[in-house]
């Protein structure tokens, strides 16, 4: 299936990646090329086949509900672009 510039604009917005308008056409061509190649999956009969999400099909392990880590804000914040008084500083979210 070919995807157009408008679809790329929408998907880039969903993915939170700024793509300049003049890149949308060429990205649409690139992505369409990949998706066209992927279309061959439609040749495979998958009626009644259960999807396989992981090769390790075991139940998630349980552990005791106790604190095992924490209380170390300096390490948590060590790589923050902006931090103040043990908090991450982020752009204003609520007007």
């Amino acid at each position: 299936m070919a995807i157009d510039a408008a679809t790329v604009r929408k998907v880039a917005r969903l993915a939170r990646i700024a793509e300049p308008e003049d890149r949308l056409e060429s990205l649409a061509r690139e992505l369409s090329g990949i998706l066209n190649w992927i279309e061959q999956l439609n040749e495979v009969d998958t009626d009644g086949v259960e999807p396989l999400t992981t090769s390790v099909e075991t139940a998630l392990p349980m552990r005791d509900d106790v604190v095992t880590d924490g209380g170390d804000p300096a390490r948590v914040l060590a790589n923050a672009p902006k931090a103040e008084k043990n908090f991450f500083v982020v752009p204003k979210v609520v007007e």
Partner: protein, 490 residues
Amino acid sequence: MAELTSLTLKAALEGLQSKAFSAVELTQAHVEAVEAARALNAYVVETPDKALEMAKASDERRARGEAGRLEGAPLGIKDLFCTEGVESTAASKILRGFKPTYESTVTANLWRDGAVMLGKLNMDEFAMGSSNETSAWGPVANPWRAEGGNAKLTPGGSSGGSAAAVAADLCLGATATDTGGSIRQPAAFTGTVGIKPTYGRCSRWGVVAFASSLDQAGPMARTVEDAAILLTSMAGHDPKDSTSLPVETPDFASFCGKSVKGLRVGIPKEYRVDGMPAEIEQLWEQGIAWLKEAGCEIVEVSLPHTKYALPAYYIIAPAEASSNLARYDGMRYGLRVEGANLAETYEKTRAEGFGAEVKRRILIGTYVLSAGYYDAYYLKALKVRRRIADDFDQAWQKVDALLTPTAPSAAFALGQKSDDPVAMYLNDIFTVTVNLAGLPGMSVPAGLDSQGLPLGLQLIGRNLDEGTLFSLGSAIEKAADFKAKPKKWW
């Protein structure tokens, strides 16, 4: 002491044990080799001070009689592994300057056993690539060059730095990761040994995530036995990774050199693809002959869904990546590019921080997971994934392991395939099936092509049966007697 760097890991451990040299001497020789090989761009961070400090501590432990399994062995670490206090960027601008405050489980296991870290190894950005050209820090050059030529070749990807460093004697062994072939294809391109173990053998904790249901760490080394020694240290159950398997780790080296007589080895006919160079076909035949001579029974098998593995992978891996890479939002670590509001800050940060291939895969992944396309693409791919895993289950009724070529070509020139994403993706045609099914796969150097470039053969095994791969791998290694080394030009 250049000769210290050309030892196998095993010989180096024996030399340390017999006090022929110290860990400091061994490490110093490697530090000098690393500094002299910057033209290869294999290391993105060199940690000579840390290495010598670790080596000194190692010599002290050995003197106290507390030597571990890898005591004093200088290793290189793929930049996908978080290393405490040492910049870990996954070769992405978005993580420039990121110094983890924790250590990945796999590297912690290596240091527990006495290994020494020489530095961080270059790779494709977020492990997305097959030629190392997507690295934000520039591509790695393969130490191998075609006979009579001086064009720079790719070392393969994504673990290209690991492969080049091992091939050029810039470490005794290296960590790597494999999501679709990222250990095995670079091993084939550089004449080194690489194994992707069974999914869940090695903890993914502290390894920068690409596609979590496929990612698996493994070693790269100069011999099959060296790879076995490294994997024995790297593997093991880790409660911090819920997909880590609660199984004992065998001493993998004990499988090396064991008789392979009577083992049934399958040859999947679907791996004879159009356009495969005759030399690779011949090498495969040679591998079959070697295993026959060693007493294996060769059985033709069919894996009918092989050709659908790559397209399924290019839905599943980008889908998982688009979710995993959502964390790079400029808020808690890494790059932040301020915009007029929160959404614009996210968008600018990610536009500037990610390279073209990473963006392409995030967009594909976002698209196939978006409303209206989820069933047609993502769910379909997961059903095909089941078909591929079922193919292998059928094969295991008849055989104990499979033998295939590792890659459809030898190393190609940097720049040769970078304009065509699908042509680049086809590099992983023989390796990607194994990731989808979670199986162990190993690449062993088996010969040189007419241009003098290394070629590899791949062995695929049952779940948790790396032991058989190490036995078969050492049988091929012995028969191939692969001794060639790249001629030093760097």
